[in-house]
């Protein structure tokens, strides 16, 4: 079974991730198609396996992986900072305020309104 996906809609990275997720059920081959399309060929490993539901499942996976990719992209800097800060002895954050002397009180916590 061959399915075409337009990489102008779904980036190649997303397509490959979706294909990988299906690779437990059948063999998956990805080839360049016409224009910005890629062709995905699903081959059953065993004559008893049905490929019938695959195109639909691929559609769902493409949407899911698109959301994941966008979340991953947008949260990458903060996740990297999180891991770095968690494992690093040195301070990567701007802690000038919390490291200040309470008597200097640069944040103005003791100010009474």
């Amino acid at each position: 079974m061959i399915v075409a996906v337009d990489t102008a809609v779904y980036p190649l990275d997303v397509v490959l991730r979706a294909c990988h997720a299906l690779s437990g059920r059948c063999s998956v081959a990805v080839r360049r198609g016409d224009g910005s399309a890629v062709e995905i060929e699903f081959t059953a490993r065993d004559s008893a396996d049905s490929l019938a539901g695959l195109p639909r499942e691929l559609d769902d996976l493409l949407l899911d992986y698109t959301l994941r990719a966008r979340i991953a992209e947008e949260t990458r800097p903060i996740r990297e900072l999180l891991v770095a800060q968690a494992f690093c002895e040195a301070d990567l954050l701007d802690r000038r305020l919390v490291d200040a002397d309470e008597n200097d009180d640069p944040r103005g916590i003791a100010v009474i309104r």
Partner: protein, 377 residues
């Protein structure tokens, strides 16, 4: 019970703080720091700090004296009393009470909508000396002592000095400090408190929401959530024990369960979470329309929150609630609100079989109360 009185005085030109001696004492060193308490005249008043007379004394001896103190006839040996030069007599400590506290300051950097002790914008930093003197006079056998305000940490070094003084003078007295925790945003301040290694210190810190702007609104201070949260982390890092306190009202109820989850997930180290009914004191009256919710209407939220915290293994107490409005499954968590003020009960309470276990009402709370108050049988 009135803890203050205006007295006629003589021979007092500065505030004098001393222990009450209803029973005569022999040791001259003890006499020098003791107020001799008499009804009218005493045979032997030599060497005492001064005399407190319940009635008026006509022939005034040449010693500091405050008289006409009928209101303070509960005073007893070991209590601590301050007499100001203007004749104001203040009971600072009562040995027989389990609820003594030092009101460090009237100043506060928050202005909580339901504050029971509304702050005053006055410079009272000079009160530290009196607090330190008081600590020296308190009976070291005292089980527990509160440190409150206002916001006691506004004294900064003075606050640390006070805690250190308590540690040195009252090493076996449990200290319970009420603070908004904001000043511990500064890590060094938390480190200094931790370094005092007070053996029995708990900081009671209020947290009203898991969302910054909601907490900030309740305490009427922008940035307070950030400061308190970081403060809690800093305090824990330096080994200071923390109790979290949540006052239940119309603004805190909607996210109470989320707040419980937030506490269990982020502050699993706190030793106690107190879920507290609204006390009808101070600013509450001014903001009552915004804050009031009938406790009987939030029992589901209260139950959920208590369950979340209990499931996570945290110790939970419910304060300031009448038992008849509390879901029966929560009764084991309900603590009788205890204070030196006499609690009162309503006509509706007549015939209730649970009055012994129930905290009843503060006198000021009678005006607005749950519609569900009813005798339990």
């Amino acid at each position: 019970m009135r803890l203050h009185a205006n007295a006629r005085i003589s021979g007092i030109d500065r505030t004098l703080i001393g222990r009450v001696a209803r029973t005569p004492v022999a040791d001259p060193a003890v006499r020098a720091v003791s107020w001799r308490l008499v009804n009218d005249r005493a045979a032997d008043i030599d060497g005492y700090l001064g005399v407190l007379a319940l009635d008026d004394i006509d022939a005034l001896p040449a010693i500091p004296i405050a008289h006409g103190l009928r209101h303070l006839d509960y005073l007893d040996d070991g209590d601590v009393v301050a007499v100001d030069p203007n004749g104001f007599v203040r009971t600072l400590y009562r040995r027989a009470s389990r609820h003594n506290f030092i009101l460090v300051t009237d100043q506060c950097n928050s202005y909580c909508l339901m504050c029971s002790q509304p702050p005053k914008a006055i410079d009272d930093f000079d009160r530290l000396d009196e607090h330190l003197r008081l600590v020296e006079l308190i009976d070291p056998a005292t089980e527990s002592l509160g440190i409150t305000g206002g916001e006691p940490t506004l004294f900064r070094d003075g606050f640390l000095t006070l805690i250190e003084h308590c540690r040195n003078r009252l090493p076996s007295t449990a200290l319970h400090v009420l603070t908004n925790g904001r000043m511990f945003f500064y890590r060094q301040f938390a480190a200094k408190l931790g370094a005092l290694r007070h053996p029995n210190l708990v900081l009671g810190v209020p947290l009203y929401s898991d969302i910054d702007n909601e907490h900030d609104y309740v305490v009427q201070a922008r940035g307070a959530f950030e400061e308190t949260v970081l403060g809690l982390m800093n305090l824990d890092e330096h080994g200071v024990a923390i109790e979290l306190r949540v006052v239940l009202h119309r603004l805190t109820i909607p996210r109470l369960a989320s707040l419980a989850t937030f506490i269990a997930r982020n502050f699993p180290f706190v030793c106690h979470v107190a879920l507290m009914g609204l006390e009808m004191f101070g600013l509450v009256h001014r903001n009552l329309d915004e804050l009031w919710i009938d406790p009987v209407d939030y029992q589901r939220e209260l139950r959920d929150a208590a369950q979340i915290l209990g499931d996570a293994g945290m110790t939970v107490s419910i304060y300031n609630h009448q038992l008849c409005v509390v879901d029966r499954s929560l009764w084991p968590l309900a603590r009788k609100s205890i204070s030196d003020w006499k609690n009162v009960y309503l006509p509706e309470c007549d015939g209730c079989t649970a009055m012994e276990q129930c905290g009843g009402f503060f006198e000021s709370g009678v005006k607005r109360h749950s519609v569900a108050i009813a005798p339990l049988r």
